[in-house]
Amino acid sequence: MTETHYQGKLHHLQKELMSEYYAALTASANGSGVPAAYLLIGGNPVELLRAFDILPVFPEVNALQLAVRKQSLPFIQSAEFMGYSSDNCAYVKADIGMYFGGRQTPFATIPEPSLLLCNYVGCNVYLDWFGHLAEFTGQSAFQLDIPFIRTASGKPSKEDIAYVLRQLHHLIGRCEEITGRKLDEEKLREAVRLSSLTGDLWAKIKHLTKRTPAPYDAYFDSVTMMAPLYCLRGTPQGLEFFETAYAELLAKAEAGVGPLEKERFRYVIEGPPPWPHLRAFRDMFSRWDAVAVASTYSTVGGLWEFGFTHDPDHPLESIARHLLEWNLTNRNFLQRYEQIERYLEEWNANALIIHSVKSCRLFSAGQGDMREYFTKRGVPTLLVESDLEDPRYFSEAQMRNRIDAFFESIAHRPTREGVTA
């Protein structure tokens, strides 16, 4: 089998819900009166916006939607015409190009922001990106500064938590100014409660791929679930989506059904996908009956599978902890090694694929060191390079050759458990 055709109920529901989400964005752009806030994926505090009925707009999601639809290049080029470098993050370029192209995309008209919420969670490019949006729109951005995890404990300090909590109070003040109404604490608790239930289901879904065969691909199918996880989290629709997804995937797991006819290799994958060439990339693994059982990329917005849950009794504290500690982007690089190590062990994987993307240096800078670390520990590891947004950085034949050679080589060597795959 060289192509994957797996489309379950969750895929159709995702399309339906995301269409509704984008229709709401278009309505806002056309003057529905619902204010929109731009914010970033990393550990996003979307629950706070829900409490004010502010529409969340994720420029990263818009950029990747453009890339998946093979629409990103003209926008990237128009940003480069403005002076952006070929070496700058292409998410930013696609978004800036789209902004100056009248905010028109094939899936929605993106509204002007009432709030530029730069939740700075690890990624320094976020700061430049929102700084530029502020410069170009003439708006001031709210910089939600999240101290990076930088101490040996791998935990935020009590000073870090206090600092973030105080900023969240200021953010509430800003939302009150925008909407003209006070924070409804009950509404915030309800959004956090919905997020808590959604996160728990997402964690359960993540744990299903510990089974053999994995009932879905934890990279290529996880990304389908990530859009609702961010764009719809904290809403009844978001919860409903995850209830449906969990039921469907649990049934597959119980029935011993996976996304491929046969599961031969179980791998962990690190790094964002090559969105402009997603299908071609997926098929390079399918042809080897290789299934991703865990992916670091699916934890950029939150690390629920390792025990985090929002707490409706302490809504702001749990939002602060989510931002600080419970997402991949605010954790340091060595914590990512630990995360991968856990996936390899607990999800019983026999290889690591590192997809190194030029655009996102938060992800990629130092992945050569990561390869060295895992190779020395006896984990078959392959590092391939392309990009998450810019279609020009993808050499299909070369990529396929390398992936073929990798699986060819591990097909004939003992795994860590001493059996050949």
């Binding site: 700058n88 700084g131 206090a162 060595l334 060191d369």
Partner: protein, 392 residues
């Protein structure tokens, strides 16, 4: 009569700086450490380090400035990809080849994503070298930001005390702020002299005077700068037909000395720059005699520091500040000199470009790498640019 009592020429001082900069290792820091007990030295990755916090704790903050154009990167290339800037790799390479062995620790900061990951990679590869990471606040409008940064500095002071075996007192910190204020004040005067009389102090001369502060104890650097200021002020020189240029973009990875000379030789007076900006980070003196000098240092970072693409102060437009700087320095043009693959610097450029075009200020965008050693092409580009302005 001893030659030491003679006033030194600027050429002699610069020559001494050049030799110190080109010498591998950190001999002045080692000598300083050996002169008294409870002393250590730490390598500080760019851009800005709160040097006072380390120095007050008995730790000499030594500046890391990459590998220059004489280092071959043989090991670090396998750890960081081809699209990562050179200073990330050359810093790791220096560690891997033992060139940082004289240092007792390394500190990185939240300036960009590769530097962030390098802190982790460095600590994994050198488990016996203490590595610190400072998260500078990015919310300049938050009233709690100075308190947060003060607490961060206090944490860093505990780290520094472990390196030296000596905790800083408030008096130690006041003394450290005092001496670094002296250093920065003299650098500001040298910058002002170059702005007003660029024929008396070339950037190829000013740069090593500042850069040598990466290596020397601050008292020694302050003396050297004072001598240089005196020598440059009393120097005689003749103005040449050159354009006045503000240069920006080279705040982290540093261009080779010969590139700086080539820019000047192509017909430019560089009247302002952001080379080594961390050495002169503040717009004025940091208050020394407050009850809580740590807080004063934190507050100065947020409210009295120079603009930089790694700061993200949303209260001001960096592009507008660049235009104002070009005007206040009576610059004919701006050169944006970015290190290859440097995201903060490359990201700043589109906003600079728009603002400079709107203000009618000509500019030239160039990229460099620390390891470059041929300058003919870049010099040619600058000459063409200069000629287009001179003979417009």
């Amino acid at each position: 009569m001893s030659t030491q009592t003679l006033p030194q020429s600027i050429e002699a001082i610069v020559d001494r700086c050049d030799r110190l900069i080109e010498e591998p290792g950190f001999a002045p820091a080692v000598a300083w450490k050996n002169a008294a007990p409870n002393r250590a030295a730490i390598g500080c990755f760019p851009v800005y380090t709160p040097a006072e916090v380390f120095y007050a704790s008995g730790v000499l903050p030594v500046g890391l400035a990459g590998g220059g154009n004489r280092m071959e990167i043989a090991h670090a290339d396998s750890r960081f990809q081809s699209f990562i800037c050179s200073i990330i790799k050359s810093t790791l390479e220096q560690g891997m080849t033992g060139l940082l062995d004289d240092l007792d620790g390394v500190v990185f900061h939240s300036i960009c994503d590769p530097a962030r990951n390098l802190a982790s990679v460095y600590s994994r590869n050198f488990p016996n070298t203490p590595v610190e990471y400072i998260h500078f606040p990015q919310n300049f409008e938050a009233e709690e930001a100075p308190r947060y940064l003060r607490d961060e500095y206090e944490r860093v002071a505990l780290f520094a005390a472990e390196l030296s075996g000596r905790s800083m007192t408030t008096e130690d910190l006041r003394a450290a702020i005092h001496i670094y204020n002296r250093v920065r004040d003299t650098i500001r005067r040298l910058y002002a002299l170059r702005r007003d009389s660029p024929h008396l102090l070339r950037t190829r001369e000013l740069y090593p005077l500042v850069r040598v502060g990466h290596l020397l104890p601050p008292e020694e650097h302050a003396e050297l700068l004072a001598d240089a200021l005196h020598a440059a002020t009393t120097r005689e020189g003749r103005e040449r037909d050159r354009i006045r240029v503000v240069l920006t973009g080279s705040f982290c990875e540093q261009p080779p000395l010969d590139l700086i000379a080539a820019i000047e030789d192509a017909g430019c007076y560089l009247v302002d720059d952001d080379f080594l900006i961390g050495r002169r980070w503040f717009t004025g003196d940091v208050p020394e005699n407050t009850d809580d000098p740590l807080f004063a240092l934190a507050e100065a970072y947020l409210d009295a520091s120079l603009p930089s693409p790694v700061k993200h102060d949303m209260r001001v437009s960096p592009a507008r500040l660049l235009v104002e700087r070009a005007r206040s320095h009576r610059a004919d043009a701006v050169i944006v000199l970015c290190a290859k693959f440097c995201e903060p610097s490359l990201f700043a450029y589109p906003t600079y470009r728009k603002a400079l075009q709107e203000a009618g200020i000509p500019h030239l965008f160039l990229e460099f790498e620390e390891k470059m050693w041929m300058f003919d092409r870049i010099k040619g580009e600058i000459e063409t640019f200069v000629e287009s302005l001179l003979f417009d």
